[in-house]
């Protein structure tokens, strides 16, 4: 082409020849819900024809994408060329590449390919999603990118450090069982299925299938049982439900966290897990913004803790180059580990934080009373009408599920130099008690606020000044 000078680096490597399948699937995902709805609602027969008409251009565009897409390893960085009419050439400097992550579901593994995500520290999602490459190409990409980076780092520091991968944590089946029992993800699945069913509008279907089942139950006979027997039945039903979701949780843990391993290579922490969809992530230590430890009542029962990290930039569910969204998944450092292991992982993830030297401060003296008043108010507000509604008989069932929440113990650590902004806020209630709350904002925070409520106002002001000056 005349516009290309000889200085331009022309990428030559191509995607795997079956890439179009995955591209089509990715496009189809956007239409999945309407399609499912059509199937479930049993719409007009014409629909299948329309669906076919829709699918043909999708596959054509997927093939076109595969045909045109080129990538290669340039002298300075990864080069990706997309499109012919609207051509886009992207250069990603090796030095700026933080992660080369892969994701492989069952189909990927069957065809021995992987979806590759190239991320830099810029934030706002992946720099490039390469869909899909065969495993040799992935290996080559990893080696080329990290070799280039290591060379650049070596010239900066003056000597090449021998590369060694240390295994920090590996979850045995026993640990996965514990995780499944602690973590109640099964409930989320049940809720998601229920939500999907109602969303699609096939609750009619549910009605048709479940209604006769419910009616066949001896409800009339139930009323003739004594109150003790009734209570027994209801409690066993609840227990059955809880046990069922726990079994589902254990199953999920075995699938998603199968062969979970955390390894360290210099400043990179690598996480791999999954039975069907094998996920491999790289957490670069300089990007770690905060480490969160969670210890619930169940964790304590099993003598375990969970560790997650916040990472600056990517992986937080923003739109990537092609508008695809990465699911905002939790970044596990350790789904379950013993307190001793948690301590060690804390030290590895945030080497400059000396946690054991921390001098823990209490909240404002009035905080206990204020919280007690607030919780009793809430309890009265919710449980009294509930109890009245249930004729007072099942009141314990209303109150009990709240209890485990009170036993959640959480520890969040963020290094001072990761603090982006500090905000001190006082509500009218705070001012009445002379209290304030402090929120610390970091680059990677998602769900967990680094928020300290119920502080003495002077303490909070002092803390804010200290953090601001840091």
């Amino acid at each position: 082409m005349p516009s290309e000078s000889t200085l331009d680096f022309a990428p030559r490597k191509r995607l795997h020849r079956l890439s179009w399948i995955f591209a089509s699937i990715e496009y189809l995902k956007h239409f999945l819900l309407p399609l499912l709805a059509a199937v479930f609602l049993g719409a007009q027969r014409d629909y299948s024809l329309w669906a076919a008409l829709l699918v043909v251009p999708l596959i054509a565009s997927a093939l076109w994408h595969q045909w045109i897409y080129r990538y290669d390893f340039g002298p300075r960085g990864l080069v990706i060329r997309e499109g012919l009419v609207f051509r886009n050439v992207r250069n990603i400097d090796y030095q700026r590449i933080e992660n080369v992550d892969t994701e492989r579901n069952l189909l990927h593994r069957l065809l021995k390919v992987a979806q590759v995500r190239v991320e830099t520290s810029s934030g706002g999602g992946s720099e490039a999603v390469v869909r899909v490459l065969d495993m040799n190409a992935v290996q080559e990409m990893r080696e080329r990118i990290f070799a280039a980076r290591a060379r650049q780092e070596a010239t900066e520091t003056g000597n090449a450090v021998p590369v060694r991968e240390d295994l920090l944590l590996h979850l045995a089946p026993g640990e996965l069982l514990r995780f499944g029992l602690i973590d109640n993800r099964g409930l989320i699945v049940v809720a998601a299925v229920f939500g999907l069913v109602t969303q699609i509008g096939s609750d009619r279907l549910l009605e048709a299938k479940v209604q006769p089942l419910l009616e066949s139950l001896p409800i009339g006979g139930f009323a003739t049982f004594g109150p003790l027997l009734q209570a027994f039945f209801i409690f066993s039903a609840i227990a059955g439900l809880i046990a069922g979701t726990r079994v589902l949780s254990v199953l999920l843990a075995f699938i998603t966290l199968h062969d979970f391993r955390l390894t360290q290579m210099r400043d990179d922490l690598r996480v791999q897990h999954g039975l069907f969809t094998r996920i491999s992530l790289t957490l670069r230590r300089p990007r770690i913004q905060a480490v969160h430890q969670k210890v619930s009542l169940l964790h304590r029962l099993f003598g375990r803790a969970s560790l997650t990290v916040d990472l600056a930039g990517g992986l937080s569910g923003n739109a990537g180059q092609d508008g695809s969204r990465t699911p905002a998944r939790e970044l596990w450092l350790a789904p379950v580990c013993t307190p001793a292991e948690a301590d060690r992982l804390f030290r590895i993830a945030l080497p400059r934080v000396r946690l054991h030297e921390a001098a823990w401060q209490r909240l404002a003296p009035g905080a206990r009373g204020r919280l007690f008043r607030l919780l009793s108010m809430l309890w009265l507000l919710f449980s009294v009408p509930g109890a009245a509604w249930l004729l007072g008989r099942w009141a314990p069932a209303v109150v009990l599920p709240v209890l485990p929440l009170l036993w959640l113990r959480r520890l969040s650590v963020t290094p001072r130099n990761r603090v982006q902004a500090v905000r001190l806020s006082t509500s009218p209630f705070d001012r009445r008690y002379g209290m304030a709350s402090l929120v610390v904002d970091t680059a990677g925070a998602r769900a967990v606020h680094l928020k300290i409520p119920y502080l003495d106002e002077d303490v909070a002001t002092g803390l804010m000044r200290a953090l601001h000056a840091a």
Partner: protein
């Protein structure tokens, strides 16, 4: 901490904004009321009450907002005070500011005030706003907040 107030003329901007919002609320609320089958007496009563409440809000809110808004510049960065009932103090270090905006709407331009918007790489309050500055102060603050060495730390 010597806390700087914002520009007094900003009160006029907020008052106009309050008037416009009130008008929209009033019209959207009262016209359906008179069109409905609610007795005229009750409609007039409710309309009058809404009018009084909105008038009180217009009279009180801009001044209150002004009294609780302030800023303070130090060696490290800026601290912004805001909020009438739920009050906040946001501290932001110079090195953490990614980029800044000085924003003026038509009304603000007429009164010569501007809003300074500061962006960080943070996640929960990645944009912190300071409204009601005079345009000159906003520009001055923006320049003062540009880090001297241009270093950026995530």
């Amino acid at each position: 901490m010597p806390r700087q107030p914002v520009e007094r003329t900003a009160i006029a901007v907020w008052r106009w904004e309050a008037i416009f919002t009130s008008l929209v609320i009033f019209i959207a609320g009262v016209i359906p009321l008179f069109a409905s089958r609610v007795p005229v007496g009750i409609s007039i009563g409710l309309g009058g009450l809404a009018f009084l409440l909105l008038a009180a809000w217009i009279a009180w809110y801009p001044g209150a907002k002004y009294r609780h808004l302030g800023w303070h510049l130090d060696d490290v960065g800026i601290t912004i005070h805001a909020g009438i009932f739920w009050r906040t103090q946001s501290s932001l270090a110079r090195a953490r500011i990614q980029h800044t905006d000085v924003f003026q709407g038509p009304l603000q331009r007429h009164y010569g005030v501007a809003t300074l918007k500061l962006y960080t790489a943070g996640s929960h309050f990645s944009r912190i706003e300071l409204p009601g500055l005079s345009h000159d102060t906003a520009i001055h603050l923006r320049d003062a907040l540009q880090s001297a060495d241009g270093s950026d730390a995530v």
